[in-house]
Amino acid sequence: MSAGSVLGRDAASRTMPWIVAVMAFIAGLALALSLAVEGAAGRFAAGISGNMTIEIPHAELAGAAESRANAVVAAVARIPGVVSATIVPRAETAKLVEPWLGADLAGSGIAGTALPIPTLVDIRLDTGNPPADGAVAAAMAAISPDIRVDDHRIWLDQLLGWVTAVRLTAGAVLICAAIGIVLTIVLATRAALAIHRDVIEILHIIGAQDGYIARQFQFQALRMGFQGGVAGAALAALLVLIIGLAGLSMRSGLLPALNLGFREWMVVATLPLAAALIAVVVARVVVMRALARMM
């Protein structure tokens, strides 16, 4: 003989999982996208933070650019913390502007005249022991004041700012979704209390403690919260997967891949548990407060 469900199903218990599912979907989407963006930004930042780019302005005289580039490479190589310095071939530099200018213009210029593309020197740094702040810039200034050193700091700062904004937005969405779940459970539990008023009174009369009665509602809330949480989180995960796959097919090389690792997926997988936990706690609080008003 099973104990049976004292409360049985009611209209509120049929509707609530769907509302929780919507909330969990929104929360799951915000969480997954936030984690994906954070991961992608982290990978992207790690990729460029060990590099610097030196930009040597175009020189009109043939061979001048090459000799300046060699001087730069020689100067940089002497700086402690620099692993390597490589002159980027003109063909590769031209490729960088190819998406905007077209292959013909970027490669050979108009009527055979080469575009005034600067010479780039790619520097790889020892990330464990990087050069002192400003050491590379000082060495370049000694060669020529018009040589630019790009340590990607501006880009990294902007990226960090953007990731922080995404995380804050996701956090706000998560809080809103959690509040939505709380309010949904409060309303559904109050409705269930009204619907099952007679059952509650019977349980009281035959000697049930408040905790026993509250547990009946908690079981119901647990089931509905978990069901809704699973449905919403699964749908969010599916959408994130689709977005990730779509990103793979359109990657330009500039954008990092937007996908989740095992740890991030595990975080998303905790959403149904979080929804169930919220549901159980809220249902208990609502029921215990209501029962305290009874004799």
Partner: protein
Amino acid sequence: MIRFENVGMRYGTGPEILRDLTFTVEPGAFWFLTGASGAGKSSLLRLMYLAHAPSRGLINLFGRDIATTPRAELPGLRRQIGVVFQDFRLIPSLTALQNVALPLRIAGKAEAETRQHAGELLRWVGLGPFVDHFPPALSGGQQQRVAIARAVIGQPRLLLADEPTGNLDEEMGNRLMHLFLEMNKLGTSIVIATHNEGLVRRHGGRGLHLVEGELAEIRGGTP
């Protein structure tokens, strides 16, 4: 067992529907609670089974002053009371067996004992084939018998019944009264609210008579 002193009762902010009730139900009593419809019989029972607080006066149950008993201890007192409701008040999502077993389960009794005891009681009231039926699938009389089985399964010290034979045929009504008398011999105090004057006369006629919320007569009891 039960002592009422100048007890009044009202629902919400409405008028008092019970006034100045003073009486004592001694241990082992077999009492009837009589009165016309609307006299307050069911409300008086609600006070007795601790479903409602009095608006004034003192209620002493099993030697405890209800007004000063901590709320957390009231379920322990309620478990010593069996109640048969006029409208059965079975839990529709539970089978007949689960309904009958519920008081024992709430009291934390062992599952095997609970199942055996509930099954025996249901067979005794003639519902052996209906143990797995849900209340909506049972007739009024069958539901009444399930409600009676639920009320007596915990072997209460006090049994309160509101028109318990109202939905039963004569034979089942006689069996039920026989059960109540047997329980009474074993020490359970019984209070039965009824319109049935014949039933009252056949069983000694002791008890309370209410008229418009006031105690009009105590037949053979302690005022």
